[in-house]
Amino acid sequence: MSDRNDAALIPALSAIELTEIDAEIAHVPYRSAVAIDALKIVQAHRGWVSDESLRAIARHLDMSADELDGVATFYNLIYRRPVGDRVILLCNSISCWIKGCEGLREQITGQLGVGLGETTADNRYTLLPVTCLGACDKAPVMMVGDELHENVEALSLQAIFGDSGGDK
């Protein structure tokens, strides 16, 4: 099967990604059942899922690209646009709201120069809201990459983000 992506310097699906996706397929009754796993595998390698990768995954799973995009865009932790090196997931559910997550968002926006859904100019951070992170006794909380930060205050932001931001 030929495709214009085959000629690209970076293939839409790498050999490693294909191997990992095929390992998931071995566990399920039909190929499209691993749609979410496959999207997450590609995202783990590339940070996000491009249109080219999405089409390649869909072909590999015997799905239409539109059907797979319907799955991809349903889930808030599948990124269909590029994100920064680390994604900030700021909890804005009720316990964090009581403890001032809206003020925290303003602080982060001021420090990094980005609003919700935006990526810093240096490409280090993307700021996103997230549902209750299950650490409500330590509110307000947020994740930066895989790491959970608890009882976050304005003063602790400097330590979390270091010297990033400001210079956009």
Partner: protein, 431 residues
């Protein structure tokens, strides 16, 4: 008095995970040995007799849920057990404790549950953000395969079970059990119509049980120590212990395993240390973001399914969210409604379009743009969207629970927003 607290006995003060050796040295995997020494039917009877009810929020009797799984399996196809570790109910932080501190407890409970329904494949469906818990569970599962507690012919019993972790990709609706099954099949997480029930036709059309983390963590304790022991743990008619939590402006927010039916006052005033200095209690959601408000008048009630239900709310997940006197009740409910509106799967119109409408009306009131007739609009929304049967699943009716009870208990606060064209608390309601 020394309390018997089975679920948290391996939880260390620093919350470091308990590994396999320490788990087994403290009596771990004795419940598994007890289970495989009995017939699945005997195990089911013990769980039924124990009166264990589901800890994910709905409180359905676990043994009864399992009893609908067909035990004759003429085709020999798969049967599935799924652990719902998609903890995302606003204000709920109990399963994280069990997952991160004692992963083997969940695995042992799951093996015993799977044996009882004779499932041959088990999944742990865990929310994507619980990276640490997923890693610990994968490591613990690998150890169990090495030890012969998972895989073929477990401990020479002839019973075979495979187990794996599925890390999700977000969305609150995945916690609804049929939506979870859709997601595990690689689809959009739309809930499914019932019947058929998952026990008969669930994952890939096969018999499937979905249970919450805390529910499954109880199973091997019940099978090892018996239904009478479990019943005696509770202070009221509901059995066992419960992980209770308190968040909001209390002195010591946290999560504690206590006897089922512990009075609310004891949980808030003793364990959570009472209200933080300078704050008064106005109300609380007893069990997560989709439960009705209770008030200080309810503090002496027992925290169990029946008592909280009679008081007009639900025990839900058992993790309370405190409304204090310096937090705006309208802003509080607006935050929850915006959450539910955002998390609607979009499948049915009353939820997809109704919840954003409710959120808009609440935003108008909170922002000082409210009109007197908005109160009637909210009441109509509660009546229509809150009625089970008008929506495809329970998400939208759950979203209406804090609103309908706020309209009952804090009506004058809504009306002050409208008459004064401003939030009496402050700009955003929170501080």
């Amino acid at each position: 008095m020394s309390l018997d607290l089975p679920l948290t006995r391996n939880v260390r003060p620093d919350r470091a995970p308990t590994g396999f050796d320490a788990y087994e040295a403290n009596g771990g995997y004795r419940g598994l040995r007890a289970a495989i020494g009995m017939s699945p039917a005997d195990c089911l009877q013990i769980v039924k007799d124990s009166n264990l009810r589901g800890r994910g929020g709905a409180g359905f009797p676990t043994g009864m849920k399992w009893s609908f799984v067909p035990m004759d399996n003429p085709g020999g196809g798969h049967k599935y057990l799924i652990c719902n570790a998609d903890e995302m109910e606003p204000g709920t932080f109990k399963d994280r404790l069990l997952l991160e501190c004692d992963p083997h407890q969940l695995i042992e409970g799951m093996i015993c549950a799977a044996y009882t329904i004779q499932a041959d494949v088990a999944y742990i469906f865990i929310r994507a953000e619980y990276h640490k818990a997923a890693r610990l569970l994968r490591e613990a599962i690998a150890v169990c395969y090495d030890k012969g507690y998972l895989g073929r012919d477990i401990l020479g019993s002839g019973y075979t079970l495979d187990m794996q972790v599925h890390s999700s990709a977000g969305r609150y609706i995945c916690g609804e059990e049929t939506a979870l099954i859709s997601s595990l099949e690689g689809k959009r997480a739309n809930p499914r119509a019932k019947p058929p029930f998952p026990q008969v036709s669930g994952l890939w059309g096969r018999p499937t049980i979905v249970n919450n983390v805390e529910t499954l963590c109880n199973i091997h304790h019940i099978i090892e120590r018996g239904a009478d022991w479990f019943q005696a743990l509770g202070l009221t008619e509901d059995a066992g212990t419960k992980l209770y939590g308190v968040s909001g402006r209390v002195k010591n927010p946290g999560c504690w395993e206590l006897p089922m039916g512990t009075p609310i006052r004891e949980i808030i005033e003793k364990h959570a240390g009472g209200m933080a200095d300078g704050y008064q209690l106005r109300g609380f959601l007893p069990g997560g973001g989709s439960t009705d408000f209770l008030t200080p008048d309810h503090l002496d009630l027992a925290m169990d399914y029946g008592t909280i239900g009679k008081a007009g709310s639900r025990m839900g997940t058992g993790t309370m969210i405190i409304l204090d006197d310096k937090t705006c009740p309208v802003g509080f409910v607006k935050n929850l409604m915006e959450f539910f509106a955002r998390e609607s799967c979009g499948f049915c119109t009353p939820c997809r379009d109704g919840l954003p409408w409710s959120a808009q009306v609440l935003d108008d009131i909170e922002s000082g743009r409210g009109q007197a007739e908005d109160m009637d609009t909210l009441a109509r929304q509660v009546e229509f969207i809150g009625a089970i049967g008008n929506t495809h699943c329970a998400l939208a009716p759950g979203a209406m629970e804090p609103l309908q009870s706020a309209l009952k208990y804090f009506r004058e606060d809504f009306e002050r927003h409208i008459s004064g064209s401003a939030c009496p608390w402050c700009d955003g309601g929170a501080h």
